[in-house]
């Protein structure tokens, strides 16, 4: 994070992209976009394009990693090399390993893992285009994909980031705001229960700013939840096709 004098982040109460402080970027959600996966979701957040696929519950390998009492959730967050301005070297790096862990823990609380002892539930999130907030988009997509796969859950999980830019607490930072802003705080929550399942913060915030940001993020998660819900309900009302596949794979 660095301060860059020449960028005016806030002008006439609006942000660089014209949004107000508490405004989300455009969100688009498509359910069941992949044929092979058990469940899937395409999620756009502004300029972010994210795809999530769920496989399972299925046999957990390696066997020693099985949990005799409940299913293990595997979560892999991966950025496509072309998803960022400077090509990203393919494969996991430290950032993606940490994000995978945090995202998995964001979803664990809602998945009824005890229904499937010893099994694995695999979640794969691919960032196809990145514009700040990819981990929150990934969690949102994964939550919908899990529902689509028929994985039993207590509820959905919704996620968004807040941050501090030009001295203001704002919702859902875009790339410029994220690069030059003063703080970034992604959260995930079970919106209907007001329960927070992921929380990270980097940068610098006062305690009051933190509390204000948390409230702002929690409110936005309710909005995102409604969009996730609408996408899921809408899918079958549209008469989208289910899968028929020849067996023996």
């Amino acid at each position: 994070m660095k301060k860059e004098g020449e960028i005016e982040f806030i002008k006439d109460g609006k942000r660089v992209d014209g949004r107000s402080f508490d405004e989300l970027r455009n969100i688009k959600i498509d359910v069941g976009v992949l044929k092979r996966a058990d469940g899937s979701c395409y999620f756009e957040l502004g300029n972010n394009k994210v795809l999530a696929a769920v496989y399972g519950p299925r046999e957990m390998h390696p066997r020693h990693a099985q949990d005799a009492k409940m299913a293990v959730v595997k979560f892999r967050y991966n950025m496509a090399p072309f998803s960022v301005d400077d090509r990203k070297r393919p494969g996991p790096d430290r950032r993606s390993v940490e994000i995978s862990k945090v995202s998995r823990e964001a979803l664990d609380p809602v998945i009824l893992r005890e229904y499937y002892p010893k099994a694995a539930i695999e979640v794969y999130v691919e960032i196809l285009q990145s514009d700040a907030g990819t981990r929150t988009a990934g969690i949102n997509a994964a939550s919908v994909a899990l529902a689509d796969a028929g994985v039993p859950m207590r509820d959905l999980v919704s996620s968004v980031a807040v941050g501090k830019v030009g001295g203001e607490i704002v919702l859902d930072l875009n790339a410029v705001e994220d690069n030059y802003g003063e703080a970034d705080m992604p959260i995930a929550m079970i919106a209907r229960r007001n329960t927070i399942t992921a929380l990270q913060m980097d940068g610098n915030l006062t305690k009051d700013e933190f509390e204000k940001g948390l409230k702002l993020a929690m409110k936005a998660c309710q909005q995102i939840y409604e969009l996730q819900r609408t996408a899921l309900i809408g899918r079958y009302n549209k008469g989208e096709s289910a899968k028929l596949k020849d067996s023996g794979t």
Binding site: G56, R58, Y115, P117, A147, M153, R154, R192
Partner: protein, 223 residues
């Protein structure tokens, strides 16, 4: 009219009737899965999708994926592998099966119709072979649908599947795990698969049996 729910949706106040696809919290019934509410009898959420979980007595179609004396290990489209013990067939022809000979009875990739004999807490699944039903031999196709759609494909008291078999001139065996074995002439198999896909896609809608009948009749007159 059917009602679509997503995980966490409130379904009912009647916790005593909470059934499959639901959970109870503070006396209220919520959905665990994305599906359609069915409140005839128990309050259930019939999932759109999901994996097969074996229950004792189910008849399923499996594939032999490993031979590990004295077991055949069988994939039954579930998160858990199942097994057939050698003794389940060793009486056949009066000959004992020797170590190393198991593959002469059932080999890797062989398809089998099996009964679920037992499922224990560690999800070890014992199977018995249904020797009267041969899967994968002759003209046929094995397709897979979400196991949650199976009741709809069978229909009330078997009405849907009876109609399918009649009008498509096919032998159709619908296993509990969503695998369906269809045998007959190629064009008949194709028609049957098409109708099964239609049922799968519209499983949550009402008046489906009539629409399927109509569709089958229209195809019949075209021919």
């Amino acid at each position: 009219m059917y009602k679509i729910v997503i995980p966490g949706d409130f379904v009912s106040d009647d916790a005593k009737r909470a059934g499959e696809g639901t959970y109870v919290e503070e006396g209220k019934v919520y959905a665990t899965t994305y599906g359609v509410v069915d409140d005839k009898g128990d309050i259930r959420v019939v999932a759109f999708n999901g994996k097969y979980l074996p229950t004792r007595g189910d008849v399923v179609i499996g594939k032999v994926i490993e031979i590990s004396f004295p077991y055949w290990i069988v994939d039954i489209a579930s998160p858990y592998e199942a097994r057939i013990h050698m003794s389940e067939i060793s009486t056949r022809g009066g000959k004992r099966i020797e170590f190393g000979d198991m593959n002469t009875i059932l080999d890797l990739d062989d398809l089998v119709a099996v009964n679920v004999l037992n499922v224990d807490a560690l999800m070890r699944i014992d199977l018995g072979l249904k020797e009267d039903l041969q899967i994968g031999r002759g003209n046929g196709r094995l397709i897979e649908v979400p196991p949650t759609k199976v009741p709809r494909i069978i229909g009330r008291k078997g009405s849907m599947i009876r109609m399918l078999k009649d009008k498509c001139n096919c032998f159709i065996f619908v296993a509990k795990n969503g695998r369906i074995w269809i045998k007959g002439k190629t064009k008949d198999i194709k028609l049957a698969s098409e109708v099964i896909l239609m049922i799968t896609n519209e499983a949550h809608t009402s008046g489906l049996t009539d629409r399927v009948a109509e569709f089958l009749d229209s195809v019949k007159t075209e021919r």
